[in-house]
């Protein structure tokens, strides 16, 4: 070697380069290398015999053995694309928030079964007065909040009044039938609710009314009734408490050891893992990185078919999709044009776009299977002759109009429907401007019929298993200016809806809703779309899971077990 310093420099360079290459090509190589016990599965905890590591369940013994020992904690991972923005049960909405709320809080009653039934929870029993206005709930005696204080009638009253005061979240479901005096404490374990007017589906909305611990809320009340604090803290009595809270990434719950209710599964905790792409969720379940994926598309389900260790759950659920037409402004004030479009739309393509067997076509405004839904309703199906007939009767017999369709940014399926609509309208010589917009902006547009687009695609989820949910939100004129029903307003329909929600007798209601459906189809305010199945994929290690067709992606962890 000519020069030692040059040589040294060269060597240093060689080493650095090599190291980099190693790092880049990475440390993985889970394959042999018996000396280095690289983790074979991502979900497997690290080893290394470190006595200090407390939460580490695996015990080092033989580092070569991969799978977790029997005593391992049972933590369920749910992959979801929707972040958890608000844990406050009285303001936080949306399925992801609800999922967390459901597991750290309890409500008076729960949903169970398919079709869903309201069953006791904090309330062990209840009575309803004959006029349907007064509900008396008997609470379980030993229910305790996480700080050990009992769940009392006062806590129930406090919770209802907090919700009524804040007027946020799920409050709209019962607010029209209650005021601040509605709830009264009879004794520690008895609470009475007196409605201001009859409200048939009252019991069905109660599973979403969670009871908070007044002591804790008062202690953290701040300036805003504790809204800020409760956003990422809890004051519940539910089976789980918060362990990790990493916004945008993951939310971990762990089992509350002193839960008042006996039984349940063997879960020691659960993680709500934000996985934005549905394809990533699919892969996570496939690879075992997650136990349950909740936002899958029909294609994802098809891809997963036959994957070892994966169980696919696909069930119809009360979630309608329809494309609303602007009833009050623009070309669609013309019923003939609405009809023409209804007949021109390629329903089969829409169904096909969902993938084979992942959805059914809607028959009118109500989801099939819900109380009063008429399976024999005559609804438009693609029929170009009829479409052209209607078009000829309209103000635009030769088409030539440019219509607008606005869908939610990033919502793939709505984009597809838009493109199908565009293709269908071409046959009537109608043009379509397909535009995506953030949901916020879409909502803003619906405030005024003048800004509401000609076509407005909307999903309507049933929060409670009652036709009133859909009918009132989506077709009652009072909702005009809201995204759920921006423009449709027919006094006759309104009257039917109001009658439906205040009538208590079931048979009578079925009749009312039958008439309601016929009226809506007659008015043709929507292209009635599809009822998508709920699509969940699950590892076969998840046990005791039962499908309930209400918010089935907001999973209750308590009954579940992991193999």
């Amino acid at each position: 070697m000519s020069s030692t310093s040059a040589h040294r420099l060269f060597k240093l360079f060689a080493i650095v380069t090599l190291l980099t290459l190693l790092m880049a090509s990475c440390a993985p190589a889970p394959t042999p290398a018996p000396a280095a016990p690289a983790p074979a599965k991502a979900a497997e905890p690290t080893k290394a015999p470190e006595p200090t590591k407390a939460p580490e369940p695996t015990k080092a013994a033989e580092p070569t053995k991969a799978p977790a020992p029997a005593a391992a904690p049972k933590v369920l991972i749910v992959a979801s694309g929707q972040d958890i923005s608000n844990l406050d049960p009285h303001t936080g909405d949306g399925y992801s928030n609800r999922a967390m709320q459901r597991n750290v809080y309890d409500a008076l009653v729960r949903y169970e079964g398919n079709p869903p039934k309201v069953v006791p929870n904090l309330a062990e029993s209840w009575t309803i007065s004959a006029d349907g206005l007064e509900y008396t709930f008997k609470l379980v005696k030993d229910a305790r909040f996480h700080d050990g204080s009992p769940v009392t009638a006062e806590a129930v009253r406090y919770s209802f009044n907090r919700s009524l005061k804040l007027k946020k979240g799920g409050n709209w479901m019962f607010a029209s039938a209650m005021d601040e005096n509605s709830v009264s404490v009879v004794d520690d374990t008895t609470v009475k609710i007196r409605l201001t007017k009859p409200f048939a589906p009252f019991l069905s909305v109660l599973p979403w009314m969670f009871i908070v611990n007044p002591k804790v809320v008062e202690a953290n009340k701040g300036q805003d009734e504790g809204q800020t604090w409760l956003k990422d803290h809890e004051a519940g009595s539910g089976p789980f408490v918060i362990k990790r809270w990493e916004p945008g990434n993951l939310y971990e719950l762990e089992r509350f050891p002193g839960y008042w209710k006996a039984g349940g599964g063997n879960l020691t905790g659960a993680i709500w893992k934000i996985t934005r792409e549905t394809s990533s969720q699919r892969l996570a379940v496939q690879k075992g990185d997650a136990h349950i994926a909740v936002d899958l598309t029909g294609d994802d389900m098809d891809f997963l078919k036959g994957s070892p260790g994966v169980v696919l759950i696909e069930e119809p659920e009360f979630r309608t999709f329809s494309i609303k037409m602007n009833y009050q402004n623009g070309p669609f004030t013309d019923i003939a044009l609405r009809k023409a479009v209804s007949y021109a739309f390629d329903y089969d393509a829409m169904l096909a776009a969902e993938g084979e067997g992942h959805a059914v076509l809607m028959r009118g405004p109500l989801p099939p299977g819900i109380l009063g839904a008429d399976p024999n309703l005559e609804v438009p199906r693609m029929d170009l002759n009829k479409a052209k007939e209607w078009l000829a009767k309209s103000k635009y017999p030769n088409g030539g109009v440019k219509l607008s369709y606005i869908y939610v940014s990033g919502l793939e399926i709505e984009r597809k429907f838009g493109l199908i609509l565009l293709d269908s309208l071409k046959k009537l010589n109608l043009d379509l401007d397909v535009k995506q917009l953030v949901w916020t902006d879409m909502v803003a547009l619906t405030k005024d019929p003048k800004t509401t687009p000609d076509f407005f695609p909307v999903y309507q989820t049933a929060n409670y298993a009652d036709p009133d949910n859909i009918a009132y939100a989506a077709y009652h004129g009072s909702q005009n200016g809201n995204w759920s029903n921006p423009t449709y307003n027919n006094p006759k329909t309104n009257e039917l809806i109001e009658r439906g929600r205040t009538t208590l007798a079931e048979a009578e209601r079925i009749k009312i809703y039958g008439e309601f459906q016929r009226q809506v189809v007659e008015d043709a305010p929507d292209i009635f779309g599809v009822l998508e199945n709920r699509k969940l994929a699950m590892r076969d290690s998840v046990l005791n899971w039962k499908f309930v067709p209400i918010a089935s992606n907001a999973i209750e962890f308590f009954p579940l077990s992991l193999k």
Binding site: A24, K167, G248, S280
Partner: protein
């Protein structure tokens, strides 16, 4: 030197001020109304008004800006309308992830790019040089999201040797947070298993992010080495009998690296902003993902926060690069 530093810092202020003005203007060009999102579908007019007041968006724009700047001086970046959290808190939470990713990418690019660039220059116009040229031009031409997806498919799905995304396995408890860098934290905690795990998660995203920078550094380094090799002092060194390796790896390297330093500084800033696509594909919980989500929701406080943060990082990095010049190049005097 101190004067220089102080003056440079003073010069930064108008730039940052302009930056806030720019981002503020653009975020308020947004036609939509973010308050609607928070208020929820069933909100009444009064509720919306109350919320608007809460966030201050009912004020005229100049007032909003003054308020924002006043908050900024107190370290208050405002609140995200969507998550209702303090933007500063969010940034604290997400920024380390991005910084770790970017630093890893920059390290890969520098540690691989510098030797490859030298090699390319030495092998000028011969087969290895042409191969490296094709590689680097190809790398610059590959869309990041395409590359990220390819890497995911090959290493994550087909070979299955690297994780598909995320920073750390969901089930495992990450090492205690000290620096916010999982790799460093793991090393500090002497949790070698966690370190390996964190590195495994870091590999694909960092590589996907680094490739275009790697390519640029190779090209820069090649050009500078070729240029330096033309310099008289290299001829003198050779004429006085110094061997080629010593000349190349000591004398030429330092000179050539100085011109590459600018690129490293610039890229550092660009990668912070450019991590958006990689973070999206790899579900990397950093500010890029945070920014995209905020932009999609037209939630402007976080957008401003992220932009400002990256802007500051960019300015600071370039300041550091300038100072590093002084370290490498004694001709530069800071007065």
């Amino acid at each position: 030197m101190v004067y220089y530093l102080l003056r440079r810092v003073l010069f930064i202020i108008p730039v940052l001020f302009g930056l806030t003005l720019l981002t503020f203007t653009i975020s308020h060009l947004v036609p939509g109304d973010p308050v609607m999102l928070v208020a929820g579908p069933q909100a009444t007019k009064e509720e919306i008004a109350a919320l608007a007041a809460e966030f201050g968006v009912d004020q005229p724009l100049p007032t909003q800006y003054v308020r924002y700047m006043a908050g900024l001086l107190r370290g208050d970046l405002g609140r995200s309308i969507m998550t209702r959290r303090q933007v500063a808190d969010d940034l604290r939470l997400f920024f380390p992830a991005t910084l770790e990713l970017v630093l890893a990418a920059v390290s890969i690019a520098v540690l691989l790019g510098v030797p490859l660039g030298i090699f390319s220059a030495v092998a000028r116009d011969r087969a290895p040089d042409n191969l490296i040229r094709i590689f680097s031009l190809g790398s610059i031409s590959t869309p990041r999201f395409f590359l990220a997806l390819l890497l995911q498919i090959v290493f994550g799905i087909i070979l299955g040797i690297l994780p598909l995304g995320g920073r750390f396995p969901t089930l495992q408890t990450p090492p205690p947070t000290v620096t916010g860098f999982l790799t460093l934290d793991a090393a500090l905690a002497r949790d070698w298993g966690a370190l390996v795990t964190a590195l495994r998660h870091l590999t694909l995203p960092a590589f996907a992010l680094s490739l275009s920078m790697l390519a640029t550094i190779i090209r820069m380094m090649r050009a500078s080495v070729l240029e330096v090799l033309q310099q008289d002092y290299v001829l003198t060194a050779r004429a006085l009998g110094l061997p080629q390796p010593l000349i190349l790896f000591k004398y030429v390297l330092k000179n050539a690296f100085i011109s590459t330093l600018t690129v490293i500084g610039l890229y550092f800033g660009w990668l912070l902003g450019g991590s958006v696509l990689v973070e999206t594909v790899f579900d990397w919980p950093g500010i890029g993902l945070y920014a995209t989500n905020s932009i999609i929701a037209l939630d402007f406080q976080p957008i401003m926060g992220v932009t400002l943060l990256i802007g500051i990082m960019f300015v600071v990095t370039n300041l550091i690069v300038d100072l590093l010049y002084g370290l490498f190049d004694p001709r530069i005097r800071y007065t």
